[in-house]
Amino acid sequence: MPHSSRLTPYLYVLPLVALLAFVFGYPLVRIFEFSFKLVRGIDGPWIGIRNYQLILGQGLFWESVRHNLFLLLAVPIMVAWSLLVSIMLYERVKGWKLYRVVLFVPYILAIPIIAVVMKKMFQFSGPVNEVLRWLGLDFLALDWIGSSDVALWTVMLLIIWRESALGIILFLARLLSLDESLIEAAHLDGASWWQRVRFVFLPQMKLVIEFYVVVSIITMLSSVFAYIYMMGGGRGGPGTSTMVLELYIFSALIKTSLPGIASAVSVLLFLVSLLLIVPLFAVRRRANEEAVGT
């Protein structure tokens, strides 16, 4: 290639490397450093593992961890609901395009907007409880937002509501790419609905389901800040009943100005996300091979 010297490729990737080094590289190095320091303002003395001892011995930290883990309960519900709806959509293909547009709406609405709407709907004297009482289900008319026993369930409900939309679309896309003769054959063999699902659909959808499960686990552990911040009044409230790790980092950094503590939690969260990268890439690679193969 006469026009490109050996340096040319490096010039092309230079801006990319610089940007990634600044936004990812620099912070990822410094959270490790900060996590061993007593940072006041912009720097501070080394204090060994005292930050880690402090957070690991603190009730609020473990409560946040428990809440993140609790949210994982949403994943099987999201998978089951998305599977049910996507298979129904696939089987009565007539009008599926319109359904698809409508069922994806929850994912289009920004989390803060929908959280504000849900908060008003689930108020103790709000429309949801009014309908429940009208149906004679008074025992279900809970204080959805204001009670510390229920608040995290309500957040989970909102997460399920929104994130299932993605599952439905992903699963439907996979179903539509299936070889129709396969399903025809199952029909001709007189397979029942359940048999078709069990022996035709589920095996073919195994990879996309695994992919969705991994992505959802990552979401529950590290990307629920907007839900929690809006529903819990910015504090993970009522009390600390909806506190999660992301909000813990946010509060330690902004509200109590303890960058060292916030960094130690960031390090732990980063290590967890490293553990999840491996399964994520494994499923994605296999899913790509499948897409190429069919």
């Binding site: 092309y12 940007l19 936004v23 620099y26 912070p27 920004a110 008003k120 509501w161 439905i168 960031s266």
Partner: protein, 271 residues
Amino acid sequence: MKPDQALKHGILLIATFLALVPSLFMVLTSLKGQDEYTFNKTGLPGALVFDHYESILFDSPFFAWMGNSIILAAGAVILSTAVSCLGAYAIARMQFRGRGLLFSVSTSLMAVPPVVMIVPLFVLYTQLELISTFRGTIIIYAGLITPFSVYLLTTFFRTLPREIFEAAHVDGATDLFILWRIVLPLSLAPLLTLVVVNALYVWNDLLIAIIFLQDDSKRTLMAGISVFQGRYENQIPLTMAGMVIASAPMIILYIVFQKYFIRGLMAGAVK
């Protein structure tokens, strides 16, 4: 077969109802008077009241917030796309040491949660006085969305036939010319997907916005909403009118560009 069909139909109708009911509540409530809402929470509005829209449109900073969000989204998307096109072109089409490593590192960064990066950046930005500046925040957003852009563009550039590049090189075209005049025009579909996913990410983000743009005049729409809801705690119809206006731009874009939204958000879910 008959009860079977009815059941399927029923499940789909329930799913549709659940997907739409918050939006319906939002729109219907926004048209009720403040007093009417206290005794009519679930029904249709008795008479259509547009006062709330008037007060949001004329007496609240919603448009200023939207303007700020547009500046950030446009800035971050332009910066990230430019950087990613150059980088992805080199990774897909040039030979150099560290090429594979750069691509795997960049791709792995997609799975790192943004919250992990905020502490050192906040400390650094405080020191450099970059808190509450658009340029500082645009760089952070651009960085966060770049791994996905590089991943998508590299995989696409690799699918382009080799002959195009060889022929262009023989004709004496430079790499920049090939990228600008041949590769990019062929890549409009993935570029549009990228713009949708990335702009939506910046537009919808709350975490970076409330940490790095603390100044009232720099607030984004999402950060503005979090302030707004607290201020008008008990004025529910007014709040809902605000939410209708806040969601209108994306809903309109979604209806116009459904195909790219659905395709883009599915691809973007990888993040």
